[in-house]
């Protein structure tokens, strides 16, 4: 559990540095069990900052989403640093972006937080459907503690933990400038049980499963917008000439979009689960990402987002790659 005061002090100290423009973190949301991103421009703004198991969002999208307005005459570009509060998976996403030279390390200040897993907000909402005000959640060993309407409720951690956090290998930030609290011990090693179980189904069962989900896709592209690694200036789905994917919402186009979205994250996805969380149609997108993650680990012994100096998966090759797939 992260000490709130330590976080606020660290943010205050960092934001009052001259070379830091602002810091992105979490603050209390306005509805139910949601936290909202918070921007601290002065040390006064740092008061709002919190960190608890409700802080699900991946804030690494923000330095890339930032709009850069054209400069006025004789105006200098503001090249001060941007601070981000990062969990384990967020920091890996950032490493992947650094690897691809999407951002520069010297333009960032990272406040690392050892994570103990975040909750699945959809599951909480099912448990407490009538909760409209922001409610804090505390973590006590293997339980989450909710104080709702003056009564304290304890719920086992396993019931509410997000699926991606169950097999998390890197809860501690891979890169950081300031680390808050003590590092979490890593207990699990990914087994990819779900992927392996799904693999054993017949082809028609697999297609029926995905057909059911892809039919619901409304092509809002929320998965793309929420993903920290989908940061192309023009996405291939937005191209009109050549038009890679038609814009009509029907099953075959939806399937093409979802396959290509997953494939464009092959060897880059860090399993933060943002796409699945953002999806309004509740498509299990992580299932596709996990397939690729598992195959890449088995075939090429490669894990995304660990070393900023490493080369990307598709930028390299190895003459000894397994060839069983060739006809």
């Amino acid at each position: 559990m992260v000490d709130q005061k330590e976080l606020i002090n660290a943010v205050k100290e960092t934001v009052s540095r001259e070379d830091v423009r602002y810091i992105v973190g979490y603050e209390e949301g306005t509805y139910g069990f949601e936290t909202a991103p918070s921007f601290a421009y002065t040390s006064d703004d740092a008061r709002k900052f919190i960190f608890n198991p409700l802080c699900t969002k991946n804030l690494v999208v923000y330095p890339i989403l930032e709009e850069k307005l054209p400069l006025k005459r004789e105006e200098q570009e503001d090249d001060r640093k941007i601070g981000i509060v990062v969990k384990g998976c967020d920091s890996r996403a950032l490493v992947q972006i650094l690897q691809e030279k999407g951002l520069k390390r010297e333009n960032l200040v990272l406040i690392g937080i050892p994570c103990t897993g975040v909750v699945n907000t959809k599951k909480i909402k099912d448990k407490f459907p009538n909760q409209t005000e922001y409610t804090d959640v505390k973590e006590e060993k293997n339980h989450y503690v909710f104080s709702i309407e003056e009564s304290v409720q304890k719920i086992p951690k396993k019931e509410l933990l997000a699926d991606v956090c169950k097999e998390c290998e890197y809860p501690n930030p891979v890169i950081f400038d300031i680390l808050i609290g003590e590092e979490t011990e890593v207990e699990t090693e990914p087994t990819y049980i779900e992927v392996r179980e799904f693999e054993e189904k017949s082809l028609s069962e697999k297609w029926e499963y995905w057909k059911k989900h892809f039919e619901n896709c409304i092509r809002c592209y929320a998965c793309r917008e929420a993903c920290p690694l989908c940061y192309c200036k023009t996405c291939m789905a937005d191209f009109l000439d050549p038009q890679w994917i038609r814009r009509s919402v029907d099953l075959s186009e939806n399937t093409a979009w979802n396959i290509m979205r997953a494939f464009h994250l092959a060897g880059r996805c860090v399993s933060c689960g943002e796409c699945e969380r953002a999806c309004p149609a509740e498509i299990p997108l992580m299932k596709l990402n996990k397939v690729l993650e598992k195959e890449i680990r088995e075939l090429y012994d490669y894990t995304a987002g660990l070393d900023p100096e490493e080369k990307t998966l598709f930028g390299t090759f190895n003459p000894d790659d397994p060839e069983e797939f060739i006809m």
Binding site: L203, E208, K211, S252, A256, V291, E295, F317
Partner: protein
Amino acid sequence: MSKTTQITELNSNPNVVLFLCRWCSGKGADLAGTSRLHYPTNVLPIMVNCSSRIDPQHVVEAFLEGADGVLITGCHFGDCHYKTGNYKTFRRMALLSRLLKQVGVNPKRFRITWISATEGAKFAKITTEMVEDLKKLPPYGKNGKGGDS
């Protein structure tokens, strides 16, 4: 779909989109032609400069537009005109095939192979094999009829 309809709906005339690289597989296909070898007319050859030019999107696009199968050919390892192109193709396409398999596309519909300029006979053999394989499957349809159900 019941089993009886499945059998009647087998594909007698499958379409295969065939990607050829200019330097090896394309010449191999030429050799098959000049040596008067027979290969099925179901293949639609598309020549690209290097097999690594083929984006996974092209493969998905081919299926979307009604292809029953996609065959990608390139130079043998170490023979690539651009030195390392086919290694990169291979990494990409191997992963794409795993992904397509997980979504329910029969792995027989998407294959990759290496054909050199002297292997006209191999070219004829492999295209025949692929088309024969696809004839045993139902057509891969557009607009929701896809999947090998």
